[in-house]
Assembly symmetry: C2
Amino acid sequence: MTETTLTLADAQALGEAILSRAGAEAGVAREVAAALVAAEADGQAGHGLSRLPSYADQVMTGKVNGRAIPDVTVPAAAAVRVDARSGFAYPAIRIGLAKAAEVVRATGAVVVSITNTHHTGAVGHHVEGLARRGLIGLTMNNGPAGIAPWGGRRALYGTNPIAFAAPRRGAEPLVVDLSMSKVARGKINVAAQKGEAIPAGWALDAEGRPTTDAKAALAGTMLPMGDAKGAALVLVVEILSAALSGARFGYEASSFFTGEGEPPNVGQFFLVLDPGPFSAGHFADRLEDLLGAIEAQDGARIPGLRRLAARRAAAEQGVSIPTSLYQQLQARR
Amino acid sequence: MTETTLTLADAQALGEAILSRAGAEAGVAREVAAALVAAEADGQAGHGLSRLPSYADQVMTGKVNGRAIPDVTVPAAAAVRVDARSGFAYPAIRIGLAKAAEVVRATGAVVVSITNTHHTGAVGHHVEGLARRGLIGLTMNNGPAGIAPWGGRRALYGTNPIAFAAPRRGAEPLVVDLSMSKVARGKINVAAQKGEAIPAGWALDAEGRPTTDAKAALAGTMLPMGDAKGAALVLVVEILSAALSGARFGYEASSFFTGEGEPPNVGQFFLVLDPGPFSAGHFADRLEDLLGAIEAQDGARIPGLRRLAARRAAAEQGVSIPTSLYQQLQARR
């Protein structure tokens, strides 16, 4: 596979041009492109520039409203509600978290519940932004169905990512970012394309039976990380992201990848904490104690460091994407 | 193994007598005994009457203060802080959650952070109590170290249980309750006693190598559910329960099982939500939609139903414990 390297500025300009041409408002195009470029720079290609064609398709058909203005309300002292109005998630999350960062100084804790929203993208980025303001963030997100309830065979839940971030003293924020499926669906796609088997434990076939056949897995469901326990956690994520906000559940949500159909209108949940009132100032010290105990062990690592290394490399060298994707993007700008 | 059956009332009286005789204040003895009996009734023997001898030992040596009065403060509008003062967790959690249930009517969301606390017991019970008041509860707890950071070989984190509960319309609350280790340590203990091997993937030996030797596993560390992803989640639980509250980390905490040593002084984290302000009343309907979609699948189940069935059976027939434990308890009353 040949690759083409772009500077981050060129990638940003390309993304903005494609989204604007599709009909997105200029500010929305800028913000969405920046989010995709940031994901690409962190090595999260699945949430990066590869999304541009399908995002643009969705703006063109109106499945995503590229001109939506999110509606933010504060229905109780520590409760922020955002209706993304079937627009992109990025502006809705930014506006909701900005409100939370303001409110939390008086309340210590705030929950932001977002409805009628779309693909969260690189979930860690949203909470990382909170940590850069000295706040702790925890997020749970649903998406189009890929995971079945434990023992079942029809997908109900998305791969429902969770992310967490906390500010560190004199270091980049700690960021934990993980989807609840055992592996990314993309890995099964790749195996199916190559005609290779997948390891047992990744997926079930359409009848709910364990399978190592990648094609059968694509027709079936993804197994959750942690099996039965993980399936229970995926349910919790589905409830907090979608039942609380009144969004669509995974099995009701349309694809994030195609222009057809109604808006996915999924949900997002954020908990925002100011460590100050809880910890009387000791949080930063205690976090360093714990992270130091991890680093003191050979072979153990603080999560997220690989992503930061990728980000530094991308800032200097740009990002490399498949040349076929690059050509596709150039044709759409 | 012969078993002895007790009525719940007899089990309660026995527990109260043992804890009072060890030196616990009468109200504390009653509350702690009730928590252990409730766990036993739910089929969670590991958090049930088997804990009485070690709890009593800890009261006698002062490792747990059986007369502690938890200190509750509200340092910000949606932040509740509890110092359990090295007493049992049950009163500290009850008092903290009662305050949260009061505060949350105005704030929509509250975080309760508990420090200098002890064994959480059956974690689901605490959040189930919130759901019975119409609230959503999520809790994260640390404990004495059993799980190593991913790639490492020394245990830093407890098995760090998470529990979640939500109120249901016309049904018992939904309760999800899980520890973050792949299996309970008790299962490895049983295998070691029988001289049996354990399945691969449960534990590592003291050198951090995968092992199927139960004795080597007991000298090593427990693997987290979900492997590398689960290890990242265990870290999040450790931070929210212990770094936020200023409690001891797993690797700093003494055992919950012996009378020796300093108080464990671990931490607990609770998020309490009033679904009303977030959902404009639709939460109950949407939760039923989702749970109905689970129940519609052959083989899939709503979590927690087995526990409710055990509870109903125990209310009628009492609880059965090993006769050796019964004799040990009778000798200590």
